[in-house]
């Protein structure tokens, strides 16, 4: 189903933000919308968005490939993106990540066998004073979790799995 049929209200609201002659500007919010349900953007969605905005499918694919928050293949339902950049690393992010890998039984870049979680190392998320920290990217968007310990992270995950809600 096309995005405009599936999310008529959202599509209309997105397109209203930009001058009609520059509707190409809507490509990024539309891609987030296309990614909402499955966690990745498939070829049909890219074609759909290209048609809607009068640009080529290649133009859309180039955007998907350029920005790190768009994904073009199915991975975990949630992505846990741990910042391991310099300021976080100075406050224990690398040790946190290592310990997390041990607890989850996966390496960075891998997905848990049940398909629930993909663990990723990412660059700065603008929370350098609250390391160790990570964000989750999932069906409900992106959420920050700061000043984390491994225990609290595992607790968060078990609640999330049970209830679909992110509470610590």
């Amino acid at each position: 189903m096309s995005l405009a049929k599936k999310y008529p209200k959202e599509v209309k609201q997105i397109l209203s933000k930009y001058p009609p002659e520059h509707k190409r500007s809507a490509v990024m919010p539309l891609l987030f919308l296309a990614q909402r349900e499955e966690g990745y953007i498939n070829k049909a969605s890219m074609q759909d968005i290209a048609r809607m905005l009068d640009i080529t499918e290649t133009d859309v694919a180039a955007i998907v490939g350029f920005y790190t928050l768009y994904h073009d293949k199915k991975e975990g339902k949630y992505r846990m993106q741990v910042c391991t950049d310099l300021p976080c690393a100075l406050r224990g992010a690398e040790e946190f990540m290592e310990s997390l890998c041990g607890n989850l039984g996966i390496k960075v870049g891998e997905t848990t066998p049940d398909g629930f979680l993909t663990l990723e190392a990412v660059t700065c998320l603008a929370a350098c004073d609250k390391a160790p920290m990570f964000q989750t990217q999932g069906p409900d968007g992106i959420k920050y979790h700061e000043n984390m310990t491994v225990d609290r992270t595992m607790e968060l995950l078990s609640v999330l799995k049970r209830s679909g809600r992110e509470v610590e």
Binding site: P19, M28, P29, F32, L53, Y67, D85, A126, C128
Partner: protein
């Protein structure tokens, strides 16, 4: 001292329009639209000495005055991409004191004759964008945004736009490309955005913190603002303090505050009572300041004085590095970042960061030789002055100053081979 930007720390609920207005909020905007000419608003900002807080430190009022009045429409874009490792101030401003920021956007729009503004937030600020959308709706409802404001002919709309994870979009022309629905790759400058910006129209791009200063400058006057800070660097600045300190966080202080006060008086000193080995005053893009003499900590943090230490103040994201850290590890981290974030448009940056990452990795793993360190320095220096935008240049700063100012760390690293 009371906060000027982080006012939510003293005034509870200032993130509601009622409390913001009770504290004088939105009067400056109403007053400007109903009683001042646009260029008078620009003049006040010019006279205040306010400089861009995103890193470059360019005089804000002067930038506004560059807007091309022969080409319409005009746009304002608020740079809320905040992605420099070590910088986390804009997020606190927008979460804590959103209306002062939005009023700053509105005042900038009025000053340059823009009827539409976009707030470009990094994609990770997903929840914050939804929060700002609510605040914008409240302003519309209260009659501060929309058509024919305060019974004048002036109309204004503010929109949020989310990026999707690309540091380069903090560079203003890459941001405009991204906002136009393209890959975030910088444009060749000149022309600069005040003459050729969003959709090819005159555009002012300002950082969140810069804009948040504007309402109080209009309310209290240019002289009030100039009375804080130093002659060269007027006003207050939010210093994002991170790294090996006891109390990392945002500290709003007058420009010219010393490193010592920031790190010891406010930041609680260094973790485990170690000593400061190096300071990066402008995040990962920074040159490394060698702290081999305790007196260096008494340097005032203003744009001109930090330069005398061979570094820039930039966005004032002060990363403190203690004596347990070796610089071969540190530059391996920063280069990993820049290699990941290089947009790939210009060859020196795309190839330079790639090859530097091979070298920093090899050296850090203890497999490097003196020749590798020389080569690394050589590659970094060859990149300097040849990249399309500042990202490539920034990537070389820690490498060059790390090797030149901390040679012992690299001698140790290669002696393992």
């Amino acid at each position: 001292m009371e906060h000027i930007l982080l006012r939510h720390r003293e005034i509870p609920d200032i993130n509601t329009i009622i409390v913001y207005k009770k504290n004088g909020g939105l009067d400056a905007f109403r007053n400007a639209v109903t009683r001042m000419k646009p260029n008078e608003v620009t003049d006040v900002v010019k006279n205040s000495g306010l400089r861009g807080r995103g890193g470059a430190g360019f005089p804000t009022g002067m930038k506004w005055a560059f807007i091309d009045n022969k080409n319409w429409p005009h746009y304002v874009v608020a740079n809320a991409d905040e992605s420099e490792p070590g910088t986390f101030k804009d997020r606190e401003i927008m979460e804590g004191n959103p209306f002062q920021f939005l009023e700053g956007v509105a005042l900038a729009c009025y000053a340059v004759g823009a009827n539409a503004a976009y707030i470009y937030l990094r994609g990770e600020f997903w929840e914050l964008a939804a929060f700002l959308d609510e605040k914008i709706a409240e302003m519309e409802e209260a009659g501060y945004l929309g058509d024919k404001l305060f019974d004048t002919d002036y109309s204004l709309k503010i929109y949020t736009h989310l990026g999707a994870g690309a540091y380069i979009c903090g560079e203003e022309t890459a941001m405009l490309e991204s906002l136009e629905g393209k890959r975030g790759q910088p444009r060749v400058r000149p022309p600069f955005p005040p003459s050729y910006g969003l959709y090819g129209k005159p555009t002012i791009v300002n950082n969140v913190e810069t804009l948040t200063n504007v309402p109080l400058i209009l309310a209290n006057g240019a002289d009030w603002y100039k009375s804080m800070g130093t002659a060269d660097s007027a006003g207050v600045k939010i210093f994002s303090l991170s790294g090996r300190v006891r109390k990392p966080g945002n500290y709003e202080l007058p420009l010219g505050t010393t490193f010592r006060d920031l790190i010891y008086k406010y930041g609680g000193g260094v973790q485990d009572s170690r000593s400061v080995k190096a300071i990066m005053p402008a995040g990962a893009s920074s040159s490394l300041i060698l702290v081999d003499d305790d007196k260096i900590l008494d340097t005032p943090m203003d744009y001109a004085t930090v330069r005398t230490l061979g570094a820039d103040l930039g966005s004032a994201s002060v990363i403190v590095v203690d004596d347990t850290v070796s610089m071969d590890w540190l530059i391996n981290k920063t280069i990993h970042f820049f290699k990941h974030e290089s947009c790939g448009k210009c060859t020196p940056c795309r190839e330079g960061t790639y090859w530097m990452s091979h070298l920093t990795e090899r050296i850090h793993e203890g497999k490097g030789t003196t020749a590798d360190v020389d080569l690394l320095l050589n590659v970094a220096k060859q990149m300097q002055g040849k990249c399309l935008c500042a990202l490539g240049e920034f990537s070389t700063m820690a490498v060059v100053t790390g090797i030149e100012r901390f040679p012992q760390d690299f001698n140790n690293a290669v002696s393992k081979a």
